[in-house]
């Protein structure tokens, strides 16, 4: 009995001791700890497609241009943005173009070597080297000649017209003096290059230590003389795969901020509420940033029922999308009427909008030859019942809720929805890209701010076995006018005219509805209240784009 008493007493003592002290430990003003749910696979961003990588590399590398929190471009390594007006971007006869880049003088790699035009030429060659497996070369392969004018000036000779020719190469530069010998010894050496040791940094921070599965430590780069020097000496990325644990780390004060790579909307809403109610986490603020991630439902337009535009319009009329986003996201995410978000430069606010109306839906279905049968389900002249199948990523709670809402609402107009969800690897590896679905799939596209309709909606981009399923026009939309517009956009260098084309394309799209536009997602991030200048972008530009300006108040 005495023993038991002793144990109990010790436990009480420990608890009391723990409860006596409260408040967080004083923050180290020379350090910022970022919590992330994902870890970069590699710091070689030429070989990675993870947002975790671009976030990690954001503070380590500079590029010719960068985008700020309002998606506006500014020159980072270049002296200015080449435009037709300033004469650095020239259109030549035969639909060829020349874009001239001028580098700021005195920019340095982490090891002190000056950055010159030769580094950019080398980078372009690496991108175009078939053996090295650099995925994206959209811009680089349009360049037929790379001309070095002098140490700080180079000219890109484009063999065709391209509306985004003044954004630089596909990737930020890598140092020639370091990577030339590596590339010479082969693709394996390039893939295996240890980016925790090899020099690749030309940004405000550089790698100090990477313990895989735990953390990445970056420190201010003393040789950096680009835009602005880092204000905080050390920035640490902590990798915590479980988002609940991640949030616990924030509440416990073990991390200073959480980025869009790791905080779900539900958690963001919960945290926001906790802070508003003064319950917990009052040292933090949550930011919701409209993102370029577009949730939608693709139709299969080869399906005889869905080929009819009126059926597609009826299906959208029959969903109360506004009530849906209000209920699910507390109004933080909003209904989309087309595929471009309001922050996109080509966004058209005046497209056709499909308000919730069962009457209109029934009317449109009747016009298309669908009437309610004896069992209350829509029937066509052939006696076919309208039972539609939808696939999405199993286990994604939000998408599953959306499905349930749609199922319920369509039932009211006599349409039955069959939900057949699959693992995301199956949906994105097989069903969606190979168009192996009968009626519908629900998922999201995340695009860069430069996105244009060609890849998603041009009829040449319909995935088939012949093109190895590489296109992204998965609904299979074939529309001559859409093709004409999307191709014209690629070649229209005058931004005003290009915007007009964008507007026209969105208007056409919302009339034709190859997909059901649902809503735009928001990026959720949370940061300590004293942490200044954190500006999430909501697009593919990582939150770390201006990490050198982050600082602690007081």
């Amino acid at each position: 009995m005495t023993k038991r008493l002793a144990i109990t007493l010790t436990m009480v003592l420990v608890l009391a001791l723990a409860l006596v002290a409260n408040g967080f430990a004083a923050r180290n003003p020379r350090e910022i700890i970022i919590g992330m749910a994902q870890e970069p696979d590699t710091l070689n961003n030429m070989l990675s497609d993870m947002s975790a990588t671009s976030q990690a590399v954001g503070g380590l590398t500079d590029d010719l241009l960068e985008r700020d929190g309002n998606w506006k471009l500014f020159p980072q390594m270049a002296t200015q943005i080449p435009t037709i007006e300033n004469g650095l971007w020239k259109v030549l006869p035969g639909d060829k173009m020349q874009v001239t880049w001028q580098l700021k003088k005195g920019l340095r790699w982490r090891d002190g070597r000056e950055i010159t035009a030769e580094d950019f030429e080398f980078t372009w060659k690496v991108i175009m080297n078939d053996d090295l497996g650099v995925p994206s070369r959209e811009v680089s392969e349009m360049i037929e000649k790379f001309e070095i004018k002098d140490k700080y000036t180079f000219v890109l000779h484009f063999k065709q017209l391209y509306h985004l020719a003044n954004l630089g190469l596909d990737y930020n530069p890598i140092p020639k003096h370091i990577f030339e010998p590596i590339v010479k010894s082969g693709a394996k050496a390039f893939a295996e290059a240890d980016f925790t040791k090899v020099v690749f940094e030309n940004g405000p921070y550089m790698v100090k230590e990477w313990v895989r599965g735990s953390h990445l430590v970056t420190v201010a780069n003393p040789r950096y003389n680009g835009t602005e020097k880092a204000k905080v000496q050390t920035v640490i990325l902590r990798f915590i795969p479980n988002t609940n644990t991640l949030m616990a780390n924030l509440l416990a004060g073990a991390v200073d901020m959480l980025t869009p790579v790791g905080l779900t909307l539900d958690q963001g809403l919960a945290l926001d509420k906790m802070i508003r109610d003064q319950k917990r986490g009052t040292d933090y603020a949550v930011q919701f940033t409209t993102a370029l991630t577009w949730e939608h439902i693709d139709f299969n337009l080869d399906n005889p029922w869905l080929k009819d535009k009126r059926v597609r319009q009826a299906l959208v009329h029959a969903i109360d999308r506004q009530a849906m986003v209000d209920a699910l996201f507390e109004g933080k995410q909003f209904v989309s009427h087309s595929y471009l978000p309001p922050k996109h430069y080509g966004y058209n606010p005046n497209v056709k909008q499909y308000e919730y109306s069962t009457a209109k839906a029934t009317e449109l279905l009747a016009a298309a030859g669908w009437k309610k049968g004896a069992d209350g389900i829509m029937e066509n002249a052939k006696g076919e019942k309208m039972v539609l199948t939808i696939h999405t990523t199993a286990g994604n709670a939000v998408r599953e809720k959306v499905e349930m809402i749609i199922k319920d609402q369509w039932k009211k107009i006599g349409i039955e929805l069959k939900i057949e969800n699959v693992a995301s690897t199956v949906l994105f590896g097989e069903i969606s890209p190979k168009r192996a679905y009968e009626h519908m799939t629900m998922y999201a596209w995340t695009s860069p701010p430069t996105t244009n309709p060609y890849g998603l909606w041009d009829s040449s981009q319909i995935p088939t076995a012949e093109n190895a399923y590489a296109g992204q026009n998965r609904p299979g939309w074939r529309n001559a006018k859409s093709d004409e517009l999307s191709r014209a956009i690629l070649k229209e260098l005058d931004e005003k005219k290009r915007i007009a084309l964008f507007h026209e394309h969105q208007a056409l799209w919302s009339e034709e509805l190859p997909s059901i536009p649902l809503y735009f997602r928001v990026d959720v991030s949370a940061a300590h209240k004293n942490l200044q200048n954190v500006k999430p972008t909501g697009n593919t530009t990582p939150i770390t784009w201006n990490v050198q300006n982050w600082s602690w108040a007081n």
């Binding site: 001791l17 430990a25 078939d130 895989r212 735990s214 690897t425 590896g429």
Partner: protein
């Protein structure tokens, strides 16, 4: 015994080769390779790019060619190159194996230290209040979902309870302070180990406690225990020297079965506590289609299961003179 051992070890070779073909084939059947996943996130990739990338990484090869290439390298000790991490698989595994060994041994030790005394205590005071209480606890422990339990502990010890210095009492996940060079047996390191080791050990603690209780009960009713008591031996000697030793024989099977876990890691616990071990690595490698890493870790587990079984069979012969192999 020697001939028996040689026979068993030789039998392992075709078994493991068969297993490797099976595992490789199942992974091959999974839809989509990493390049297909890449296309999903990058609307700019064209058919030519896909073909070029598949060739660079060897995903264009048919199953037998890929398997043969893997097998040839694997028997030479080269486990291949991780597509995801862009480093050799041996490096991926060797970075995580020590972490897993630390966590698993700590949890095993903790489980034994708690389960054995409680199991014996329960058996000796059968039907007492303490026995009923422990039984209820055992069932709660068995039914407790690891994931939820881990999060609740984090909530309690990292958010609600504070250390005297003001930080959380126990760190909410991770393995050590960033940049820390503290030795393994210091509080700076051990504080990270407490919660994951306990969460991981909970199921072992509760099931072993019940197991020891029942085997002990079986043994203490045997004639030789009555004889030992009749000889006038001290109760302590009777329980620990005569009863407990015999009760431990079936425990060997249980312990041998935990050996594969010892190196296999525990995906859920590792994920909740951001413990960088083999379990989460295996799970992620399958999700990322990182074939070579998945292959290495699944084969490693397979080998450990086979070795664990062999070890259990040998130990029977060692502790129980009635068991003989020829």
């Amino acid at each position: 015994m020697q001939r028996y051992l040689i026979r068993r070890i030789l039998q392992m070779i075709p078994l493991l080769i068969g297993l490797s073909i099976l595992i490789f084939f199942i992974m091959y059947l999974m839809p989509g390779d990493p390049i297909d996943m890449l296309v999903m996130g990058n609307p700019n990739l064209k058919a030519e790019d896909v073909a070029r990338l598949k060739k660079v990484w060897g995903f264009d090869q048919p199953f037998p060619v890929r398997y043969w290439k893997w097998l040839k390298q694997a028997v030479q000790g080269d486990l291949g190159f991780s597509y995801h991490w862009k480093i050799p698989v041996t490096q991926v595994v060797s970075e995580r194996l020590p972490n897993t060994l630390i966590l698993m041994s700590a949890s095993l030790l903790l489980s034994l230290l708690i389960a054995v005394p409680l199991g014996i205590y329960s058996a000796r005071r059968q039907y007492s209040f303490a026995d009923y209480f422990l039984t209820v606890l055992a069932f709660i422990g068995q039914a407790m979902p690891t994931f939820w339990f881990g999060l609740m502990l984090i909530l309690l010890f990292s958010i609600y309870l504070k250390s005297p210095s003001g930080g959380p009492l126990l760190p909410p996940g991770g393995m050590m302070d960033i940049g820390s060079t503290a030795s393994f047996f210091s509080w700076a390191r051990l504080k990270y180990l407490i919660m994951p080791a306990f969460v991981l050990g909970l199921h072992n603690i509760t099931s072993w406690m019940r197991f020891i209780r029942s085997t002990m009960l079986e043994v203490v009713n045997q004639d030789y225990i009555r004889t030992a008591r009749a000889k006038g031996l001290k109760e302590r000697t009777v329980i620990y020297k005569h009863a407990f030793r015999n009760a431990m024989i079936p425990m060997i099977t249980l312990l041998a079965m935990t050996i594969p876990n010892l190196v296999g890691g525990a995906t859920l616990t590792e994920t909740v506590f951001a413990w960088n071990g083999i379990g989460s690595m295996t799970y992620n490698s399958v999700m990322n289609k990182d074939y070579s890493v998945a292959m290495a870790s699944l084969m490693f587990s397979a080998i450990m299961v086979v070795i664990g079984n062999l070890l259990a069979d040998i130990l029977y012969a060692v502790v129980d003179p009635r068991v003989r192999y020829d």
